[in-house]
């Protein structure tokens, strides 16, 4: 089913159409989520939230963009919301540890690295890369993840981020530069120290 066929059915809350949508997009959504949050458990939770959001707000979809672009946009938003919530939780537990209420302080991390698509021999390096990606500003992180991890073209990213092509190119350039700097600092510290 193409967009024009499936969208009216989704708006009628047709269960078969929704199942088809899930089957078509779940792999893309899951891999994008893992690109932002490299933890299978958390990523699967976000995937569910994405499809619930699609189901709930399909009436708001005007059809200005492709259905896939809209789903990628929801996925990115949900992942960023999840990361912000984790950051808030981390900050809260840090302050609690300062004032002595350190019950959960050690337990709350940004995430435990558990990406099933990363080979065992690459795990350490990929973890280092993800830690560097985590330090990037949000829009650079989105552009880098969608292009390098999800394999989307600049044109597709332009539509998802509702930006111009030149700004996506610029975001990618700055993301790579910042990543190299961040990794350089990491290796200088670890190889010299």
């Amino acid at each position: 089913m193409n967009d024009n066929q499936i969208i009216p059915k989704l708006k009628e809350r047709n269960e078969n159409a929704f199942k088809e949508l899930v089957d078509t997009f779940q792999e893309k959504v899951l891999n994008t989520c893992l690109g932002f949050v490299p933890n299978l458990h958390d990523a699967e939770d976000i995937v569910q939230d994405v499809f619930i959001e699609v189901y709930r707000s399909i009436d708001k979809f005007r059809g200005d963009s492709k259905l896939s672009t809209w789903i990628y946009r929801i996925t990115t938003t949900k992942c960023l919301e999840h990361l912000r919530a984790k950051k808030r939780q981390k900050r809260k537990s840090f302050f609690q540890s300062l004032i002595g209420m350190h019950e959960n302080a050690d337990r709350i991390k940004a995430y435990d690295f558990n990406h099933p698509g990363v080979l065992l021999e690459n795990q350490e390096r990929t973890k280092i890369l993800y830690e560097a990606i985590e330090k990037l500003p949000e829009n650079q992180r989105v552009a880098f993840t969608l292009h390098k991890i999800e394999g989307l073209s600049y044109q597709e990213i332009t539509e998802i981020m509702e930006n111009s092509l030149s700004s996506v190119e610029s975001l990618m350039f700055r993301a790579k530069k910042n990543l190299k700097k961040s990794l350089g600092d990491f290796y200088k510290k670890n190889m010299l120290g």
């Binding site: 899930v22 792999e27 299978l40 698509g117 990363v118 190889m191």
Partner: protein
Amino acid sequence: MKNKKYNIEEEIRKTMDTVENIQRVEGNPYLSTRLNERLHQKNITTHSQIPIWQLAMVFCLFFLNGFALIQSGYFDSESNVAVEETVEENWLVNSEEDDLNYISWND
């Protein structure tokens, strides 16, 4: 020094390249079922969240309270006057008694 710089650049390159080796992860075959369950649960909660019963209970309580107050004659003006008169009388009696007590104490 030059060798160390080369090593760092090599490490950066290798780490940046790991992104190309991340394999695609297959989706969960039970996702549709889970989503259906969640959507069904959400519908149930949404329906139960409609506060018709809560509102009805609140109105019932107001009505019963009002009814009880009316039955007890709380809004009855005659009984209010009677209550006020009783209070005033008692106060007078009590204050007279207090005055007498005060005098007797001072004596």
